[in-house]
């Protein structure tokens, strides 16, 4: 009996402690926050959302209405339609419809996310786990390559792709004849992969270097070479970092306009480029522009809402450590 009593008493004290903690926390909480701050935050949040929300409402309003009245009148005079989206998808841009450009964007983005991450992971592993002379200096140099603004590399890289490399009349690399190939994404993939490398190497290295050395050494003693250690130990362990960087790279490539403008062949333009050229020809037809915009941001928004937990965590792994 006394044992049971003791247990009962024990649970009671535990509950009591938990209750007290909760109450103390609540008090501390109240002291450190103010109602005013919450209200201010809510107001800012509303202001931040209004622009997107306004365009979202417009994208569902009949064309004639959007031309003459503001989107806010839709609350008093609700009338909605899907036809804007259908029309926008089939609208022709410079040489592709928005629907084709959407598919192009997928074809550009997925490989352009995978390539730099794998290549950067290889380099990051070497920087972290293979000892060689000048390792630290070389690593800082790779990090510092972010110094080179994209804009500075665009033109020479383009001529390297199209005209090749000629040294004093001797052609070493004749270039790629991909200008008129309809769905050629090669140049965009390569360019995106190159431009992502410095940051990807830096971020993945930060993570890979933190993996306990004991694990790697144990595997080495068991006879695994660097290839196995990399593929069977480092890659699986680094998955959180790889996943979060992949989300970022995906968003950057999907949202990119500059690289695609320069490197994509006319049939392979992504949706950002198509939307940009269409918004010129659509002029004041806001019902089309708004629908087109929402078609272009639907994928990043899905990625964002589905994966934002990892997104934030991954951001911190790379950013606050740096």
């Amino acid at each position: 009996m006394s044992a049971t009593e003791a247990i009962v008493r024990d649970t009671r004290t535990k509950r009591q402690v938990a209750r007290d903690t909760r109450r103390n926390e609540a008090i501390a909480h109240k002291k450190l926050t103010s109602k005013g701050a919450t209200i201010a935050a809510a107001i800012i949040a509303v202001f931040w959302t209004i622009p997107t929300f306004g365009l979202f409402v417009t994208s569902f309003r009949p064309g004639a209405d959007t031309q003459s009245t503001g989107w806010w009148t839709a609350f008093t005079n609700p009338e909605f339609t899907f036809s804007n989206y259908v029309e926008a998808l089939n609208a022709g841009g410079t040489s592709t419809t928005l629907a084709t450009a959407f598919v192009n964007s997928l074809a550009i983005t997925i490989p352009a996310t995978v390539f730099p991450i794998v290549i950067a992971a290889l380099a990051a592993y070497a920087f972290a786990w293979i000892d060689f002379k000048g390792r630290n200096m070389l690593f800082v140099f790779v990090f510092a390559l972010q110094i080179v603004p994209l804009q500075m590399a665009l033109v020479p890289l383009l001529s390297l792709f199209s005209e090749g490399l000629t040294i004093n009349g001797v052609m070493i690399f004749p270039g790629l004849t991909l200008n008129d190939v309809e769905f050629s994404f090669a140049r965009v993939w390569i360019a995106h992969a190159i431009f992502a490398l410095p940051l990807a190497t830096f971020m993945l290295h930060n993570f890979i270097a933190e993996i306990p050395g004991d694990i790697v050494e144990a595997a080495r003693v068991d006879g695994a070479g660097h290839g196995q250690v990399f593929f069977r130990i480092i890659l699986p362990l680094a998955m959180p970092a790889i996943a979060s960087f992949a989300i970022f790279q995906f968003l950057w490539v999907w949202n990119d306009l500059l690289v695609a403008t320069i490197f994509a062949s006319p049939g392979a333009l992504p949706i950002t480029q198509a939307l940009n050229s269409l918004s010129g020809t659509w002029g004041n037809r806001w019902f089309l522009q708004s629908a087109g915009t929402f078609i272009s941001i639907i994928v990043p928004l899905i990625v964002f809402f589905a994966l934002q937990r990892f997104f934030v965590r991954g951001l911190l792994a790379g950013a606050t450590k740096g």
Binding site: A28, H29, L32, T33, A37, A41, W48, P51, T52, S68, T69, G70, L106, I110, V114, I119, A120, L122, N136, V140, V142, Q146, V148, P149, Q151, M152, V155, P156, N168, G169, V170, M171, I172, F173, P174, V181, F183, S184, F185, I190, I194, G225, H226, G227, F230, L257, T261, T272, L275, S279, N284, W286, T293, S296, I297, P300, V312, A319, T320, G322
Partner: protein, 446 residues
């Protein structure tokens, strides 16, 4: 000299050769590598000074070349291309990993594998690039020689045979891409900035003079400076204030998502969203901003055409709108890491909220603040999309990042474009130097 002096019993340890361990062996290795390096350099030099050949014939390696592969890919449906290219890429990476795994193992078979790989990979890589008839002999010779050199250096390496080979396989893909895609282009742009429009005639600093005297050039410099000064400070200030406001507030998650959402929206999308906000017309307004202005009895304003600077500020608003969420999320996490005890202790000392924030929170999140400030500053220096979408650089809204592409694409003026890119580079330089220095300091401590 026996080729197989590797101790077979040592497999559990890191494999080691006896070569190159003693002073004499190392000296011989050094001499051979130096001579080999000189030979490669001499051949490259010969290649460069040899007379140019008109209309060179193409050497094909059957139908197999990088170009042909990409041509074949280009004919496929975009969605089919994704798995195909990923499969090919995976295959190449797989081969690299297998080579890495087996390279350092002792034994005749692995020795031969290493030798073959050292000789074949460079030659194959060059053939894939379709070298031209007059270059092919040199190029193959250089590839073979450097392969042999690599093999020799690797075989005599102090860390054991296969060590250098592994290291190079790990680093080569990234190194080649960075070399060809960033380092070579940066140097080339720098050189081009001293040549005229077409890149034929040396003009000294003329392009730079153009940047700082022509209205287009000066406006791009002025606007870029405005962007780099205002965008990071305002978005970090907003982001920090918001992070403090929502800290431990009710519905924190939703409030966070609402402000963070623009981060996921492209600048093109954001540009169109805000163009709609700024929309200007006669009569009934459909743009929210002008609707508010007319509601208070004002005249509608064509926001993106108001010179000077008002329109640039309007573009800045879009950028700040997208970046504040980014700053907020990072700073919010940093604020959560500030110990509550410190805040409570400060409160017991009778400080008010503002003093607590300034003296406890801000010092606690200093490093995060610096990271966020640098990141956003660099992003604002390189800005292109917003200007391209919203104004196309009209009415003095151009910035370096945009004008550089504009000069190249619309005016075909490579000199001006390169000079603008170099000026942009000079603006980014100090920020990265600062970060690289603090990075190398950190690594020394580690």
């Amino acid at each position: 000299m026996s080729l197989l002096t590797v101790d077979e019993k040592d497999t559990a340890e890191l494999p080691k050769t006896t070569h190159g361990v003693d002073a004499k062996g190392r000296r011989i290795t050094q001499i051979v590598v130096t001579v080999g390096f000189l030979a490669v350099a001499a051949m490259l030099f010969l290649l460069i000074i040899s007379a140019p050949v008109e209309d060179p014939a193409r050497i094909a390696l059957g139908p197999v070349s990088l170009n042909n592969f990409f041509l074949w890919m280009g004919a496929l449906h975009p969605l089919v291309q994704i798995p195909v290219v990923l499969l090919v890429f995976g295959l190449v990476v797989g081969i690299v990993l297998v080579l890495i795994e087996y390279a350092p193992r002792p034994g005749r078979g692995y020795f031969i594998m290493r030798l073959v790989a050292c000789l074949v990979i460079p030659v194959l890589a060059l053939m894939l690039l379709r070298p031209y008839a007059n270059a092919v002999l040199y190029v193959v010779a250089i590839a073979l020689l450097s392969g042999a050199l690599l093999f020799f250096a690797d075989y005599r390496s102090r860390q054991g045979a296969g060590y250098l080979f592994q290291l190079i396989l790990f680093m080569a893909p990234a190194a080649i891409m960075l070399l060809l895609g960033l380092i070579y282009p940066a140097i080339s742009t720098f050189i081009k900035s001293f040549f005229d429009k077409t890149g034929d005639e040396f003009v000294g600093f003329e392009n730079y003079v153009w940047v700082f005297t022509n209205p287009v050039g000066t406006w791009s410099v002025i606007n870029t400076l405005i962007w780099a000064l205002l965008a990071p400070t305002i978005s970090v200030a907003f982001g920090l204030a918001y992070a403090v406001f929502i800290d431990r507030a009710r519905g924190e998650k939703i409030l966070k998502v609402l402000v963070f959402m623009p981060v996921a929206i492209s600048f093109v999308g954001a540009g169109i969203i805000w163009k709609f906000m700024y929309d200007y017309r006669q009569g009934e307004q459909i743009g929210l901003l002008n609707a508010i202005v007319t509601m208070f009895g004002g005249d509608p304003v064509s926001w993106l055409a108001v010179k000077p600077l008002i329109n640039t500020l309007m573009l800045l608003v879009v950028f700040i709108w997208t970046q504040t969420g980014f700053a907020m999320v990072i700073l919010s996490a940093a604020i959560k890491a500030v110990p509550t005890e410190q805040l409570e202790a400060a409160e017991l000392d009778g400080t008010n909220a503002w003093q607590r924030f300034w003296n406890v929170t801000v010092p606690g999140i200093r490093s995060s603040l610096i990271v966020v400030l640098t990141t956003i500053t660099i992003a604002s220096l390189k800005v292109y999309d917003i200007v391209a979408v919203m104004t196309g650089g009209r009415d003095d809204t151009t910035v370096l990042g945009f004008e550089m592409v504009n000069q190249q694409q619309r005016f075909q003026s490579y000199g001006h474009s390169s000079a603008l890119a170099v000026v942009l580079f000079l603006f980014v330089l100090p920020l990265i130097i600062y970060n690289a220095r603090s990075l190398s300091k950190q690594r020394e401590i580690r």
